[in-house]
Amino acid sequence: MFETLLDDIAQNSTFRHIHPGTKILLGLGSLLICLVSPTPVVPLLSGIILSGVLLIPARVSPLVYGELLFAPVVFTAFSIIVLLFMLGGGDVVWRFSPVSWINLTITENAVKQSELILFRVFGCTVSLFFITLTTPMTDLFNIMKRCRIPPELIDLMMIMYRYIFIFYEQAREIWQAQVMRLGYGRVKESIHSFSQLCGMLFISSWIAGEDLIRAMDCRCYNGIMPTLEAPEPIKMQSLIPVVVYLSGLGGILLVITTGIVVVP
């Protein structure tokens, strides 16, 4: 249910009325700053602040947010363990060498690099979550149109988005029907059932496609897919905090990199 859950949160977000442009500026801006930052402090700061914004004014349930963050955290944690041993340079911090031909070492440089990567991932993930959890897909289409993405592409995306939920529901129904008749009991059966599910889904999407053309014809289709305008124009009271936040973050980054303040 995760796909629909994300969509639900965005649809019911308290930030729903804010112009999507403002939210995307904040999300992509902090993403960019996190990516270019050579120190882990800036992404960490950005991640914490944006998480706070998501949890308090945007009222995302902490439990759901935790669950969402869990997947990337686990993934990154495993990658970091590998990176710690792979990267090199600097003094050796820890060495593991039970036999002569196994030599696992963690160096100072590797620790620094891994730390940076960990926090970058955190900062970037939260930035993207900010967009995902506050801006419904339907508002993003509007922005894409403004960005001069070809309308044919956007129309297709809109139809895809519309049908994700229909096919998702259909797949769930087929799956349930299979489970009820013990379709996934053994490995061999599971493979068989799953291939049947895919086949059924393909056929039903084919039929849905034909029906779609007919439904569009019924309503005088002439190549136009109407767009939804933004909920409200860009407002200063939401844009200004975003600009202040981003320039603050950028400022901190500048100060740290130019070495006016030395971070230990």
Partner: protein, 400 residues
């Protein structure tokens, strides 16, 4: 006689199959309510799809507005603008990712400019009672709401004829009743409405004319009490006789002298039974029916007005009236067949209040008058006035 849609000996054969429609001819007048009734595979859907040119008959002609339908692109677009088609499965009809975009689909493709699209969408959503749903994605809506979005999408093109394939399938009983009420409302705004259905109980009181289809042919085409009254045909078409009709047949077989006109509603039936038991049941003085038009005048005094009259029954007729009732936190007892039910209550001596919309306000008076004339009862219909005014009006009435 004006005719809006006509079929002349139309036939249709699906590729490689046997004929689905085997020579059907009929005509439909403007503002009629037609129910196409028949078992599965009778050719109902096929026939319906001919009305807006989705299916081209193999032989025979369909005439719209006395002109044979032409099947070139532009002519078809014109036809489809004027004959709106609502599919059985709303999920298959709703194309766009938000309600606004979906309802705007027709007008945008017809080349309306931005403000005109906006107006058309606002009006259509108002007609189906979904104002404020513009930004909602369809997968967040209930079955009934999806159906309404599908209807709004068609209404936005302002068609003359609305064709519904199984409009109540998949809706719960109250959802079906709401939908039939909406169809009545649209019919009252001047739209011709054609539905296909299996639901005899729903079609019987609703339709002006019923067409029974079986095996690609018309079995019977008449007013509902005649069409559904032919037991052989009803059995052949795998349908059931409406309860009211069955009851009246049983009664007449038991020697009750019944009027020629068959009962169409519970009210008719009650009237028939009571006229037989004349004298043996006592009647209190009939109650009054107050009509409040929610489109005109202020409605904020409604709760006070209702609270001042304990025991009053509230009925809401039409989408906006129901919304108004919800807004004023009134719980209407009736939302379907409101006038008849209020007359029934009035006969038992209870007062009622009907919330209604401009388009349907006149209907209350017409219906009550017609009933009074037929039955010889007198039921007073009063216009709604906010508290202070009304008491004085009532006093005047008392004096009279």
């Amino acid at each position: 006689m004006k005719i809006i849609l006509e079929a002349r000996d139309v036939r249709y054969r699906y590729p490689g199959n046997q004929e689905a429609v085997k020579g059907i001819s009929f005509h439909i007048k403007p503002c009629e309510k037609i129910a196409l009734v028949g078992p599965n595979g009778a050719g109902k859907s096929t026939l319906l799809q001919m009305f807006n040119g989705m299916i081209r008959p193999t032989s025979g002609t369909i005439l719209f507005d006395n002109e044979p339908v032409r099947y070139d692109r532009d002519a078809l677009r014109q036809l489809r603008r004027r004959v709106g088609f609502v599919l059985q499965n709303s999920d298959r009809q709703i194309i766009a990712p938000t309600v606004y975009q979906d309802v705007a689909f027709g007008p945008a493709n017809l080349g309306y400019d931005e403000p005109a699209i906006h107006n058309a969408v606002a009006l259509a959503l108002r007609q189906v009672g979904l104002e404020g749903f513009e930004r909602r994605p369809p997968h967040h809506l209930s079955g009934g709401e999806k159906k309404r979005v599908a209807i709004a999408g068609v209404l936005a093109m302002d068609p003359d004829v609305l064709v519904f394939d199984e409009p109540t399938s998949g809706l719960d009983p109250s959802g079906s009743e709401d939908l039939m009420e909406l169809l009545d409302e649209l019919n009252h705004e001047g739209k011709t409405i054609i539905i296909s259905t299996h639901d005899v109980e729903l079609a019987y009181p609703w339709a002006d004319r019923a067409i029974l289809l079986l095996d690609g042919k018309i079995l019977e085409e008449d007013v509902p009490d005649v069409a559904f009254g032919n037991l052989d045909h009803v059995r052949m078409a795998h349908l059931s006789v409406p309860t009211l009709l069955e009851l009246s047949t049983e009664l007449s077989k038991r020697g009750f002298a019944l009027p020629d006109r068959k009962p169409r509603s519970v009210l008719d039936m009650v009237h028939i039974i009571e006229s037989h038991l004349h004298g043996s049941c006592s009647h209190p003085a009939p109650g009054t029916i107050t009509v409040c038009n929610v489109d005109e005048g202020e409605t904020s005094s409604l709760p006070v007005w209702v609270n001042a009259r304990p025991g009053i029954i509230v009925g809401a007729m039409g989408t906006r009236a129901k919304q108004c009732a919800a807004k004023e936190q009134l719980a209407p007892e009736f939302t379907y067949g409101v006038i008849d039910k209020c007359i029934l209550r009035a006969l038992r001596g209870q007062d009622s209040l009907i919330l209604t919309t401009s388009g349907m306000a006149g209907r209350v008076v017409t219906r009550v008058d017609a009933y009074c004339k037929e039955s010889g009862n007198t039921i007073r219909v009063l216009p709604f006035r906010s508290s202070g005014q009304h008491t004085s009006a009532e006093k005047e009435n008392d004096k009279v």
